[in-house]
């Protein structure tokens, strides 16, 4: 192959090309192949030259490449394609194939692009992977947002509950605290976080060592929930009782990851329990004396040893009657105390004319007043503002105060009752007596439950020690107050203040 003007060895030129060059005739027989074709085709020159493509590659006539070759051969139009070629041994390779019609044949130029294709594929794979990662990230973000929303809800719930909730790490170091815990303990979030739960510097340390040992044994070693009653102290030092439940939260390997501690302040419940048992003991103690009196008089009536003249029998019966009356009074007072202490005292607001109420109360007790020859002096103004209060409860207060003024008065003494008001905010009622008075040392004790001053006990007056306690508690429930001035053997004045509603 020589061209005029140039002395070129085309064989040598073609053999140095990286593109495969081949010339096939009309029967698709190999007329020429260069060295690159030998490399690409996995055949020697000898195996190709003089043979048809169909002989060298059985089945090639069914490939897309062959369709292009045939088209090029028949229409004499150049063709170009990228083609993945499968060799007889099953191996594959990618080629760019250029088909150039020549007289009575085709010049085929082929370039092995397997490596380029591989890189392209890797690139595509990488793209897909990147796309997947991006999609995953988006999903992840969505999930994280969902989780955040859930957490927000959880936090709202935890913040809203009245139970004290903390979450600690496996060593008890506090990681989370809810507002109720701050409220109950008095410590702030910042003071609590990072400290050890149950520490003395926080609310703990009041139980004995054995309690804390048992608690840790249960939650940390046995990995079980622990429930119990615990005494804690608030930041201000005040002690309180809580019912506590501590649960370990385990990770996938069964190790403690967190502890969740939920505590309920049961101080109030405890107080009610205490009030209940105090009430029982108070009731049994107070009822004993009239019961013993009734017992002994009735034994005297029934027994043989003691004289039983008719007069005597009547006297004993009279005493038994007094004893049972006293028990009725006592039981009523005790019921009032129990209502006050259990918070079940019903308050029913009505318009109350205090002068009418006071006159009724005085009338109820006129027998006792007359018996002791006591003179009552009332000082009620013509116009008295209407009180918005519970008339039965106010009656109770007035009855108690008047009964005291009579009972602890000297025979022939005086009682002065006066009403006044500033017409706007408050109404005042004063009960003055000329009785025994309250010893100075007892001034701060007279509103205490079951307290009776020594001087009136020695005078032999009966009393439950509950009256003034009831008065003060009932007044507090009605929004009123009471105070007094007293001097022993001169008398006492109680001042009540009622709020006036607008």
């Amino acid at each position: 192959m020589k061209q005029q003007g140039f002395d070129i060895d085309y064989h040598s030129l073609f053999d140095h090309m990286i593109e495969g060059c081949q010339i096939i005739d009309q029967d698709f027989r190999y007329l020429y192949v260069n060295e690159a074709v030998v490399k690409q085709s996995r055949h020697t020159k000898e195996e190709l030259l003089g043979r048809t493509m169909m002989e060298a590659y059985p089945g090639i006539e069914n490939t897309e490449m062959f369709t292009h070759l045939r088209f090029c051969m028949e229409k004499h139009e150049p063709q170009q394609m990228e083609n993945e070629f499968t060799f007889p041994n099953g191996s594959k390779g990618w080629f760019t194939v250029l088909m150039e019609p020549i007289p009575k044949g085709i010049f085929v130029l082929s370039l092995d692009i397997t490596e380029r294709k591989r890189v392209e594929k890797d690139l595509e794979d990488a793209k897909v992977a990147a796309r997947n990662v991006i999609e995953d990230l988006a999903e992840e973000k969505e999930r994280a947002q969902e989780f955040a929303r859930e957490l927000e809800k959880f936090k709202l719930v935890v913040a809203g509950v009245s139970e004290h909730i903390i979450i600690t790490d496996p060593d008890g170091v506090i990681l989370f605290v809810n507002p109720a815990a701050e409220r109950i303990t008095g410590f702030t979030r910042n003071e609590i976080l990072g400290k050890k739960s149950g520490a003395k510097e926080l609310w703990g340390g009041l139980m004995d060592k054995e309690f804390y040992r048992r608690l840790w044994q249960t939650v940390k070693v046995e990995k079980q929930s622990f429930s119990g009653e615990i005494k804690n102290h608030r930041k201000n030092g005040e002690e309180y009782y809580a019912h506590t439940t501590i649960s370990p939260i385990l990770d996938g390997r069964g190790e403690v990851e967190f502890f969740v501690a939920i505590e309920r302040d049961i101080t109030k419940e405890k107080e009610i329990d205490k009030a209940k048992s105090e009430f029982v003991s108070l009731a049994s103690h107070q009822l004993r004396t009239p019961l013993t009196t009734i017992n002994w008089y009735s034994e005297m009536l029934l027994g043989r040893e003691i004289t039983k003249s008719i007069e005597r029998q009547e006297e004993y019966l009279e005493k038994i009657h007094v004893g049972s009356q006293r028990m009725v009074t006592l039981v009523n007072a005790l019921l009032d105390v129990s209502r006050i202490e259990l918070g079940t005292l019903q308050i029913e607001l009505k318009s109350v004319d205090i002068t009418i109420l006071l006159r009724e109360v005085i009338n109820e007790q006129k027998l006792q007043i007359a018996e002791k020859k006591i003179k009552i002096n009332t000082n009620f103004p013509e116009h008295v503002p209407v009180l918005r209060t519970d008339s039965n409860r106010v009656r109770m207060v007035l009855q108690n105060l008047l009964a005291n003024a009579v009972k602890y008065n000297v025979p022939g003494g005086r009682i002065n009752i006066s009403i006044s008001s500033d017409e706007k905010t408050e109404m005042f009622i004063a009960f003055s007596d000329t009785g025994y008075g309250i010893p100075r040392k007892d001034h701060d004790k007279i509103f205490t439950k079951m307290f009776r001053a020594d001087n009136i006990k020695e005078k032999g007056t009966d009393g439950t020690g509950l009256g003034l306690y009831i008065v003060k508690s009932v007044l507090a429930a009605l929004g009123g107050t009471i105070r007094f001035e007293s001097e022993e053997n001169k008398g006492t004045t109680f001042f009540i203040v009622f709020p006036l509603s607008k």
Binding site: N295, W296, Y297, M300, G303, I306, D454, K457, E458, G460
Partner: protein, 122 residues
């Protein structure tokens, strides 16, 4: 001569019923309403027996009994109380003591009278 009994009791009703019962069976009765009145009453009236309540305003019954014995007074004492018989409350005072211990609500009036009579050797 009729025997004289001192009742130490702060509850008026109980003082009255005890006095009535004891007078009915022939004793003479004097009264103390609180712990402080007891020693002067014993010195003044020389009672043959004391019925002593424990829960008293001011000086309580156990303190009164201790003082009676510290003064060398050998008058027999019947403790009549609402407290239940408890070694801790008694503090061992009664061990070598010519006294009885009775709980009010558990003791019929005739038992009390019987105990008074036994103590006085009647």
């Amino acid at each position: 001569m009729e025997k004289k009994i001192l009742i130490v009791e702060d509850e008026q009703d109980l003082r009255e019923v005890l006095k009535t019962a004891l007078v009915e069976v022939g004793f003479s009765v004097i009264i103390a309403k609180g712990g402080e009145e007891v020693l002067p009453a014993i010195r003044r009236e020389r009672p043959d027996l004391v019925i002593l309540d424990i829960m008293l305003p001011g000086v309580d019954g156990m303190m009164v009994l201790k003082k009676i014995r510290e003064r060398g007074l050998r008058v027999p004492v019947i403790i009549l109380t609402n407290l239940s018989a408890d070694e801790k409350i008694m503090g061992g005072v009664l061990r070598d003591e010519p006294s009885y211990y009775m709980v009010k609500s558990d003791s019929p009036i005739e038992d009390i009278i019987a105990k008074v009579k036994i103590t006085l050797g009647i």
